[in-house]
């Protein structure tokens, strides 16, 4: 596969009735995580009746600690508004990060399409 010069990070929003989906591509890191936080904040502010916020991570290439902090920040925002936060199609590295950091249970890890939830070893942590 030829490595095309991809933009470092993009967020694309799609709205449906009562649900919003953000499609993330590229590297979610120290420099780009602010963009995701803003996009999620806009989704939450745009629709007061929003019930589900989906983060489609299928095209995510990297997620560093600031990326994780941003996911936690979005989770804090959705929890306060009673919105369910779904992390969809997490690539193996993301599943691993969420697993090691013990926060996987916070995100309704949804399989999007054919991809199933990774071989997640649940440590029995209950949603907080």
């Amino acid at each position: 596969m030829t490595a095309l010069p991809l933009p470092p990070f993009t967020v694309t929003a799609e709205d449906g009735p009562g649900t919003a989906r953000l499609r993330l591509t590229g590297d979610l890191d120290y420099d780009t995580s602010g963009e995701l936080a803003r996009a999620a904040e806009e989704c939450l502010a745009a629709d007061p009746r929003l019930a589900d916020l989906h983060l489609d991570c299928a095209q995510l290439r990297l997620c560093d600690s600031m990326g994780v902090a941003t996911l936690l920040l979005i989770h804090r925002g959705t929890t306060a508004r009673g919105v369910r936060l779904h992390v969809e199609s997490p690539p193996p590295f993301l599943t691993r990060i969420l697993d090691v950091t013990g926060i996987g249970h916070l995100f309704a890890l949804g399989a999007h399409g054919q991809e199933s939830a990774q071989d997640r070893t649940d440590d029995g942590a209950t949603p907080g």
Binding site: S65, M66, A69, L72, V100, T101, G102, I103, G128
Partner: protein
């Protein structure tokens, strides 16, 4: 090709002759009608003819007078030089004109050679052009100076050197001496003064800046007062550079504007007898001051930032580890490439009060980088130290730490691993708890590498956390390795983009069986560094806890249970 007879092949000889004839005829008859002053002198340097305009311009010029007396030296010299060339084979060859001054006016003299060897000098007034050229040259010199000043000033982020460069440049190009004064720090004034051609001198004195007219205002960033309002006699002695030549004739005080806050003031001094500062010079000095102020301000801000980073670094650098309470501890820390950034990895050892109390090791990784990460790191290390006596219950300790770190305005978190370490006989007992951190690895003597199955939630972001503590035991020679993900996530390798990964780490460790802790730490650091090569990497921190190799000494006195050599 043979030249045409009587002339050059490119020029029709008849025509040239006609033109010369025409001009010669013009002079005696119509010479007075010509507006340009014309002086005709012969081969011997004697004036032959002078038209009216030339007579009006050159009082001594009259037929029969020597050129040396009749015209200024530059023209007489040009005539003599041209005369020396009369023997040249082609009198029609174009002659170059010469320039010089007659009285206050500038002239260009264009020679026309006659067949008899005499030369007519046509004088064209070019005073205005000359003035324009001079003004242009001045502007060019100023632009060049400003460009040079910018280069010199921005070359250094050292405030002291920046002040020296400002004083030196200003003294050399704008005045006879220059003094750079920084805004007062308490009651002290920091001054750097330079006399043209000498090295700047730095002084710190206790003085009131308002003693110098306009200085107090300039230091606050107010626009400068015109130089002519400042009486040089009113300058206090402390302001004058020691080696200033003679009396001060004129003074200009200009603020050095910084980024938002004034960076200081520039005082220009000229000796008595020299021209005072003109308005255009004052404006120019302000242009220079703007550059100097910006450079000085940047240098000072950098110095401040650097000092902050230094202070933090000093406090945040991990401690040196060594054998404590009968257990070998070794640590290694490699900060991320960018020097001025405080890293987010840390480790600490809190030794137990006695050999019977367990020691607590904490190794962690704080999310983000820079000042925010540094502040959080400091907070965590202090809190863990305060909570160290509670190390009997790691989960409780982590919950208290989590509560202390939780804030409503961000979700910056930390992952860490706690290890309570206790020497028992020749073994080392370990209680290990991960809070969202990569699990510790234990290198057994037979080369197997065991991942300790402790799990937990990261701290600092969620209201509730959980953690599971796992116990294990190290036989002499066995090592438990705590590490941050900077090691496993180091990108590099043959293709440059592969992660070092846990598998490679595990394989490397299995080759370290039986090695002392320091060697294990060095080996892991070396492999990770080699993997990364010249590439970027995150902080990497590694701590090895090793049960020392011992030899059992059987009871010496028959009553005690015996000792170990280490």
């Amino acid at each position: 090709m043979r030249p045409a007879p009587g002339g050059s092949p490119l020029m029709a000889p008849q025509k040239e002759e006609t033109a010369t004839k025409a001009r010669r005829q013009l002079l005696p008859d119509a010479g007075d009608a010509v507006l340009y002053p014309v002086v005709v002198a012969d081969r011997t340097g004697t004036v032959v003819r002078v038209n009216r305009a030339a007579a009006a311009l050159l009082a001594d010029a009259a037929p029969g007078v020597g050129m040396a007396r009749a015209v200024p030296a530059w023209l007489a010299r040009a005539h003599a030089e041209a005369g020396a060339r009369t023997a040249a084979p082609e009198p029609s060859a174009p002659r170059s004109s010469v320039r010089g001054k007659i009285g206050e006016l500038g002239f260009e003299a264009h020679p026309t050679r006659h067949e008899d060897g005499s030369i007519a000098w046509w004088l064209v007034d070019d005073t205005d052009r000359r003035l324009a050229e001079e003004a242009l040259a001045t502007e060019r010199r100023r632009t060049m100076f400003l460009a040079e000043a910018s280069n010199v000033l921005l070359a250094s982020l050292n405030a002291e050197r920046c002040m020296q460069a400002t004083a030196r440049l200003a003294a050399r190009h704008l005045a006879d001496a220059a003094v750079v004064v920084t805004p007062p720090d308490g009651r002290q004034l920091l001054m750097t003064s330079a006399v043209a051609g000498r090295e700047p001198v730095r002084t710190r004195i206790t003085a009131d800046p308002s003693a110098v007219p306009g200085l107090g205002e300039a230091l606050q960033g107010f626009p400068p007062v015109p130089s002519r309002w400042i009486d040089p006699a009113s300058l206090p002695d402390w302001m004058l550079p020691e080696d200033f030549p003679g009396d001060v004739g004129s003074v200009a005080v200009t603020p050095l504007p910084g980024h938002g806050v004034p960076a200081g003031a520039l005082i220009l001094l000229r000796a008595g007898g020299r021209a005072e500062f003109s308005e255009s010079e004052e404006i120019f000095a302000r242009l220079f001051a703007a550059r100097a102020g910006a450079a000085l301000s940047a240098a000072r801000m950098y110095a401040e930032q650097n000092a902050i980073t230094q202070t933090l670094m000093r406090d945040l650098l991990p401690p040196e580890l060594h054998r404590t309470n009968g257990v070998e501890f070794a640590g290694g820390y490699r900060p991320a490439g960018t020097r001025e950034r405080v890293g987010g990895d840390f480790y600490d050892l809190h030794p137990g009060g006695t050999d019977e109390e367990s020691s607590l090791v904490v190794l962690g990784d704080v999310c983000g980088k820079g000042l925010d990460a540094a502040v959080l790191t400091g907070k965590i290390r202090n809190t863990v130290q305060a909570l160290a006596p509670m190390a009997g219950d790691h989960e409780r300790m982590l919950q208290l730490l989590n509560g202390a770190l939780l804030t409503s305005h961000h979700t910056r978190f930390a992952t860490l691993v706690l290890a309570s370490v206790q020497r028992e006989e020749n073994q080392v007992r370990l209680r290990l708890t991960s809070a969202g951190h990569p699990a510790p690895l234990v290198v057994r003597n037979d080369g197997t590498v065991e991942e300790i199955s402790t799990r937990g939630t990261l701290v600092g972001a969620l209201p509730q956390i959980e953690a599971r503590t796992v116990e294990t035991c190290l036989q002499p020679g066995e090592t438990c390795l705590l590490y941050t993900d900077g090691v496993t996530e180091a990108r590099g390798g043959p293709l440059g983009d592969a992660m070092f990964g846990e598998e490679r780490l595990t394989r490397a460790l299995s080759g370290c069986a039986g090695l002392p802790g320091t060697a294990v730490v060095e080996r892991v650091q070396m492999l990770a560094s080699q993997w990364v090569g010249d590439g970027r990497h995150d902080d990497m921190a590694v701590v090895a806890i090793t049960a020392p190799r011992t030899t059992h000494l059987s009871a010496v006195n028959g009553r005690t249970r015996g000792r170990y050599t280490a």
